[in-house]
């Protein structure tokens, strides 16, 4: 489903991604782990075409992302869901309007159908009754849930979550991680989550990739990673 080959990216001479390759099969939930500033979010943004790589190839659902024009990218992104670290809900729209926005933009659904679908997705993230509340009136965890519903509402085939538990307390972190896992499996979408929270990562991941200095230094299941001989992986696991 998602295949990345030899992707490199530098910013102002600073190499952030150094020939990264990975493959995530359809329907799988993968976690990208690593210290802050190791390029996890940058890699995620490459997958949805927000950043173009200096070198390499990114194939998502059979589409070579780097060959798409800006207008083609807008079409391509309709089948993708992206959950931002800071949620990125429109603060001038209510929660319901935030969810309805992509439906109004890209579908021919009637107002009643949009209302029904918004209600269904809010229920899916356990957020019934917040349709008319603005993001500023919601707590951090509630905003995260609404943002997750917005990311999925176009029946996304791919869900990319950038640090979904950052800034949340341990209980909310666990709840959000579990929700992502449940929704990913329920909808069947291929999901990639970036995090430096090892506990939650292993709780939800089918497979994990560990990034260090712009490279993937290890990958596998929890058991495989714990058995890894890679020094960084051992240090990273011990510190969690």
């Amino acid at each position: 489903m998602i295949t990345i080959s030899g992707v490199s990216k530098s910013f102002n001479g600073n190499l952030v991604l150094d020939g990264i390759s990975l493959h995530v099969p359809a329907g799988e939930l993968a976690v990208l782990m690593g210290l802050s500033g190791t390029g996890k979010s940058v890699l995620l943004q490459h997958m949805i075409g927000l950043i173009a790589p200096d070198a390499g190839s990114i194939r998502v659902d059979g589409t070579e992302v780097i060959e798409l024009s800006e207008r083609q990218l807008l079409l391509f992104r309709r089948k993708m869901g992206y959950l931002f670290q800071d949620n990125a809900l429109y603060d001038f729209m209510t929660a319901g309007e935030n969810l309805a926005f992509p439906l109004k933009e890209h579908t021919q659904l009637s107002a009643a159908d949009i209302h029904t679908k918004v209600g269904r997705y809010l229920k899916m993230v356990d957020m019934q009754g917040v349709e008319n509340k603005f993001p500023a009136e919601l707590s951090g965890g509630m905003r995260k849930r609404v943002a997750l519903a917005r990311a999925l509402i176009m029946d996304a085939k791919v869900l990319l979550c950038d640090e979904p538990t950052s800034g949340l307390d341990p209980i909310r972190s666990r709840d959000i991680s579990k929700l992502i896992r449940d929704l990913s499996k329920k909808t069947g979408c291929t999901t990639i989550v970036t995090t430096h929270d090892m506990m939650n990562a292993f709780r939800i991941a089918d497979r994990a990739f560990v990034l260090d200095k712009g490279k993937i230094v290890a990958q596998g299941t929890e058991k495989e990673l714990k058995a890894s001989a890679e020094l960084f992986v051992q240090e990273f696991l011990q510190d969690q």
Partner: protein, 264 residues
């Protein structure tokens, strides 16, 4: 020698940065024109922006214009009474307002209020990832966020300038008739006689140009923000300061140009 080299290097870097920023802002304006030429204008959003930029600016523009028209008449009265020509106050007020003061004054007020609003809104949306989110939702942020704001500028500012001109003339009338004891009908007749088509043309050209500059600068500055809340503050300040400078400088150039092509 070392100091000279370092100075040259700094100057070169500053110049290169300025050229690069100019290039980026020109591309940004190109994107805006492309969206408009493709007919992808969201008129619903334009009307929402018109309310924010136009209707909500009416009060401050009218107050400022009324005061400036009145002050212009007060100062004009002092000078013209020395030459026994106080009946020309109406002409002086009307001409000054229509040709110069209303377009420039309103543009400056508009930059400070609506321009700052545009820049800070877009800058906040940029640093909070809402602009990126628009892209991930498959929507062009220039089409959704920038074009409505720029078109609203182009519609709202000319209307505000007309309102400003009329309110300024009213301010002058209040002083001319109320204090200088010029007969009301004479004052009105002098005002109407003073302003001809070339004067309206001069004002119209300027206000559309100013509207484009303010919309462009404020949207671009907001859209190219980075650096969190500090960046929002910086972008807003720069947008307003740059708008002021561009309005004042371009006014001089436009005035020279309009006079050269025979616009008096």
């Amino acid at each position: 020698m070392g100091i000279l080299l370092r100075y040259n290097y700094i100057m070169f870097t500053v110049l290169a940065d300025m050229i690069a920023a100019l290039g980026r802002s020109a591309l940004f304006l190109g994107d805006v024109f492309l969206v408009v030429l493709r007919g992808r204008v969201r008129w619903g959003e334009v009307f929402k922006e018109l309310h924010v930029q136009g209707v909500q600016s009416l009060g401050i523009v009218m107050l400022a214009s009324l005061a400036s028209g009145a002050v212009l008449a007060m100062q004009g009265r002092v000078m013209m009474e020395r030459f026994g020509a106080k009946e020309f106050i109406a002409q002086m007020v009307a001409l000054s307002l229509v040709r110069e003061l209303s377009p420039v004054f309103t543009a400056l007020v508009f930059s400070g209020k609506s321009g700052a609003g545009i820049a800070s809104e877009l800058a906040t949306m940029t640093v909070n990832s809402q602009v990126q989110a628009t892209r991930t939702l498959g929507v062009d942020p220039v089409e959704f966020l920038v074009v409505p704001r720029m078109l609203a500028c182009l519609i709202a500012l000319p209307i505000l300038v007309v309102v400003s001109g009329l309110t300024g003339i009213l301010g002058g009338y209040m002083i001319g008739v109320g204090e200088a004891n010029i007969p009301s009908s004479f004052y009105m007749a002098q005002t109407i006689a003073a302003v001809g088509y070339p004067d309206f043309f001069c004002g119209f050209v300027k206000m559309f140009f100013f509207a484009l500059l303010i919309g462009w600068v404020c949207c671009y500055k907001g859209f190219s923000t980075s650096g969190g809340s500090l960046g929002v503050g910086r972008a807003t300040t720069q947008a307003v300061a740059l708008s002021y400078i561009l309005v004042i400088v371009s006014n001089t150039i436009l005035t020279k140009f309009i006079i050269a092509i025979g616009g008096n």
